[in-house]
């Protein structure tokens, strides 16, 4: 049941932030994902679940413009209110979007962090990308953000190679959120972590998402993570969305055979 203390989306009827229409991707003859439609509003958390090879990571790459679609399109409403077809962005515009208005939290922190750069530098780098120039101010903001993700200020000059897996994930979150993005993509952000570390990270993500009213698309194979963090859920199988709806409804009253199998396969301690 939904009694989770999860933040709910704002009550207003703002225009969607992100819209995907008939998004399709083939790798040669092999299907990545087919004809996916989705709409995401500000403050909404959408979980995409499914097993390995279901197409959920392909979908995330398409939404975040890391992969080009074979067909279909992705529309994004910019801060200036203008909605753009992301395929029409110039490379400079696309990079700016990725560095400022968007975040991307990856399962493997090494892919989302610069491992040879200090923790403070990892966070400050995004600030410089949006025009921050004053060294002292950037450093102070970096320390402030390390604090928000529960990393001690005295680790600001250490590089993330000396950090544990959970700390690296928290640093990755700080790096992504420091520019106050409106949309964050997350790919298995708690994958491969110890359960106690996972719980702490989930709690952190949950509170930051609420505090900043972030829209999030989170890919996970962990239904418990989806239940804890998301408002809505999409279940993917063989490249297609087979079931979607309110997270608690899909998980408590799954309709499709595959969703029933997924839900019934979860081990409850």
């Amino acid at each position: 049941m939904t009694s989770s203390a999860m933040p709910r989306p704002k009550a207003d009827d703002e225009a969607p932030l992100l819209v995907a229409e008939k998004l399709t991707r083939f790798y040669g003859a092999r299907l990545g994902c087919r004809e996916v439609d989705l709409t995401l509003h500000p403050g909404e958390v959408l979980a995409i679940v499914g097993e390995s090879g279901s197409g959920k990571s392909t979908l995330l790459s398409l939404l975040s413009t890391e992969l080009a679609a074979s067909s279909g399109r992705v529309l994004y409403r910019q801060r200036d209110g203008v909605t753009r077809d992301l395929a029409t962005l110039s490379e400079a515009e696309r990079r700016l979007l990725l560095r400022t208005d968007w975040g991307f939290v990856r399962q493997h922190a090494e892919q989302g962090l610069r491992m040879a750069v200090s923790a403070g530098g990892n966070v400050g780098e995004r600030l410089m990308a949006v025009g921050g120039r004053h060294y002292g101010a950037i450093r102070q903001q970096a320390i402030d953000w390390l604090g928000r993700v529960e990393i001690e200020a005295d680790r600001v000059d250490d590089d993330p190679r000396s950090f544990s897996g959970g700390m690296r994930q928290r640093l990755q979150i700080a790096r992504n959120l420091v520019t106050r993005p409106r949309l964050v993509f997350m790919d298995e952000p708690t994958g491969g972590l110890d359960v106690s570390v996972q719980a702490r990270l989930l709690d952190l993500i949950r509170s930051l998402v609420a505090q900043f009213g972030l829209a999030v698309v989170i890919v996970t194979h962990d239904l418990a993570v989806a239940r804890l963090l998301s408002h809505r859920i999409m279940v993917m199988k063989s490249g297609r969305v087979i079931e979607e709806g309110l997270t608690d409804q899909v998980l408590d009253d799954p309709r499709e055979p595959y969703t029933q199998l997924l839900v019934s396969s979860v081990l409850v301690p």
Binding site: M1, T2, S3, S4, A5, P7, R8, P9, A11, H41, E44, A199, R200, L202, D203, R206, L228, H231, R232, G245, L246, D248, Q249, D252, D253, R255, E256, P257, Q260, L261, S264
Partner: protein, 232 residues
């Protein structure tokens, strides 16, 4: 003539199809119809397995509705839960429909006080004010203050249920669904819940509940809707 109902359930039906059991179909209820007025407490009656909890879950949008309509008043609008989009349903839950489930779904690392305060925070109430209200409710429900800052995972069943009740009653939704809110409570705390229900009724809320305890049911319910006559 009564005021417009808070809730109007019209010929709803529910069955489960278990694909992992060779498509076994389990009918739950069919043709369920009743209304709920402001200031009224209605009990769903019938033995275990009659579908009482399923009806509550359908009204909350936690279970899908196969047929019929569940109309919930939202201002001048009547929203049909059976067909509402997820986003609309979430707003309806935040503003119109509260729910006290049978068991608390525990969130790791979140303190009992914050679990209770959360519905007010979602409404935009300031954190200190929300926590103060949460504390006042937990005090009324006799939950020792030393437990407030602990996550409820390690609490006893009765303590968890009181957290759950407080969380359900702190909100200002005019429609409140109660699934056995007193099942694991002692007599003193049952009496507190009975008082809380009376206060909600006096404030014009409508409550729909399942109360196995006959004494509690007699104390709070204005009438009983017998679910066995809707068996599918």
């Amino acid at each position: 003539m009564d005021a417009a109902p808070l809730l109007s359930v019209e010929a709803i039906a529910k069955s489960f199809t278990l694909h992992l059991q060779h498509g076994l179909r389990l009918p739950v209820v069919a043709g369920v119809s009743f209304t709920l007025q402001p200031g009224e407490c209605v009990a769903l009656g019938g033995p275990s397995g009659a579908g009482k909890s399923s009806i509550l879950k359908m009204i909350y949008g936690n279970y899908r509705t196969d047929a019929g309509h569940i109309r919930v008043a939202d201002g001048t609008e009547q929203v049909d839960v059976a067909t509402a989009a997820p986003r609309r349903m979430l707003r309806l839950r935040q503003q119109r429909i509260g729910y006290v489930s049978q068991f608390l779904r525990v969130i790791p690392r979140v303190a009992a006080l914050d679990v209770v305060a959360e519905p007010l925070l979602a409404e935009g109430v300031a954190p200190e004010a929300a926590r103060a209200r949460a504390g006042a409710l937990l005090t009324r429900l006799n939950l020792p203050e030393r437990l407030w800052l602990l996550p409820p995972a390690t609490f006893s069943g009765g303590e968890q249920q009181r957290v759950n009740v407080a969380r359900g009653f702190i909100g200002r939704q005019p429609l409140l669904l109660l699934d056995e809110p007193t099942a694991s409570l002692d007599a003193a705390n049952r009496a507190v819940v009975i008082d809380l229900i009376a206060e909600k009724k006096a404030a014009g809320c409508g409550l729909l509940g399942i109360f196995h305890d006959a004494e509690t049911r007699a104390a709070v319910a204005d009438r009983v809707v017998d679910v066995t006559r809707f068996s599918a």
